[in-house]
């Protein structure tokens, strides 16, 4: 078998599908005449087929989880970041809630430590710091709403608007009178509700004043 070595190259180009059309014709013509090269060509094709069985080789079951088990611990910050990325709406909700609640809680917390405060629309009310008590004396008229924080309120006079007591309670003396609603706020939830109502009222006020 003293054939031109180029035919072997052509045969490999054939199995690799890189053979030129002209080479293809040349090879086929030669192989027809030469039994030795024909045998070799068959062998090359067979070897190629045997090698081309990569699809049959698969990683064993559970391979991925075994690799993952061997990895060093992931930083928790990365986990959180990935969670936020995959849940954008929930993230927005969480951010909103965190900001909202921190604002509300800080105000609520301040209420509990701060001294008594009164909004009485300019009416002359007495503040008893020792007992944390606000007294609307008999004969005094509050022309509007009365809001007391961090203390009780005793009403012997008159309130033309509503009475709101935050973090305290109110007592209405027999002679006292409240024209509007009266409300006591003790819990955070109530406080939140109060803030929302206040917000809505302010907005309502804005719209009506326009």
């Amino acid at each position: 078998m003293n054939c031109d070595q180029k035919y072997i190259l052509y045969m490999y180009n054939w199995v690799d599908e890189t053979i030129e059309p002209i080479e293809k014709i040349e090879l086929l013509q030669h192989v027809k005449k030469c039994a030795g090269c024909q045998k070799q060509f068959e062998e090359i094709k067979k070897t190629d087929q045997l090698l081309d069985t990569h699809r049959a080789i698969k990683a064993p079951n559970g391979f991925t989880s075994k690799v993952m088990d061997r990895l060093p611990q992931e930083k928790s910050s990365t986990k959180a970041r990935r969670w936020f990325k995959s849940h954008p709406l929930l993230t927005a909700a969480v951010v909103f809630l965190v900001l909202m609640s921190s604002a509300i809680f800080s105000e609520w917390g301040n209420n509990q430590n701060n001294p008594i405060s009164v909004t009485a629309n300019g009416a002359k009310v007495q503040i008893d710091e020792e007992q944390d008590k606000v007294i609307v004396p008999e004969g005094e008229v509050v022309k509007g709403d009365l809001v007391v924080r961090n203390g009780d309120v005793e009403i012997a006079g008159k309130v033309e608007g509503s009475v709101t007591v935050i973090n305290g309670s109110h007592y209405l003396a027999s002679a006292g009178h409240i024209a509007g609603d009266s409300e006591e706020i003790h819990q955070v939830t109530e406080w939140v509700w109060y803030k929302i109502k206040e917000g809505v009222n302010t907005m309502g006020g804005l719209f009506t004043s326009d």
Partner: protein
């Protein structure tokens, strides 16, 4: 495909293990294939393939995103298996060839409880046969042939993985295939 891989690699660089898990899933068969062809033993191959992924994870910072991730990953796998072959002490495994037995493995000496279907035996034998012959090749031919048949890798890509010139890749593939052809057909006679 390439965009997905790039995105995943970027996430892994930030420490995202979930993204790495996806990469493992995409490449596990290919990496295992390299290790199996190079080592010829499924236990060792699994071990080395896992090791390759671990190294890729640990050194992901060193991966240059301008290159193909698969090239880098396959290079890690081939280098690991070549190192392993160099250090290899004689081990005895069921699927290792029994010396002087013309491709017989210890499997053939263990009673098979369940009879395999005819077809299965045939493909199993062919697979085994080609694997045995590949293991007879020197590792440098083995790696070139393995990568050549791994997937549609160009000669350029193979040369990048093995870090040898394209002309050398060509020679090794050619010599490797010729050696395989001769061995496969000698045994037939």
């Amino acid at each position: 495909m390439d965009i997905t891989i790039k995105r995943l690699v970027r996430l892994v660089k930030k420490g995202d293990q979930k993204a790495f898990e996806e990469l493992v899933d995409i490449y596990k068969d290919k990496v295992y294939h390299i290790c199996y062809r190079m080592l010829g033993n499924s236990h060792e191959a699994e071990d080395m393939a896992q090791e390759a992924f671990l190294r890729a994870y640990m050194h992901i910072e060193r991966f240059n995103e301008e290159h193909k991730f698969s090239t880098w990953l396959y290079r890690i796998a081939t280098n690991l298996t070549i190192d392993r072959l160099r250090k290899k002490k004689p081990d005895y495994y069921l699927d290792a060839e029994v010396a002087g037995s013309d491709g017989l493995t210890l499997y053939s000496q263990v009673a098979v409880a369940e009879q395999l279907p005819e077809e299965k035996i045939e493909t199993f034998e062919l697979q085994d046969r080609i694997q045995v012959e590949i293991l007879q090749l020197p590792p440098k031919y083995r790696s070139a042939i393995t990568l050549k048949y791994l997937e549609e890798l160009s000669l350029k890509e193979i040369s990048n993985i093995l870090q040898i010139p394209v002309s050398t890749v060509k020679t090794r593939i050619h010599r490797g295939r010729e050696a395989l052809r001769k061995r496969l057909n000698d045994l037939d006679c």
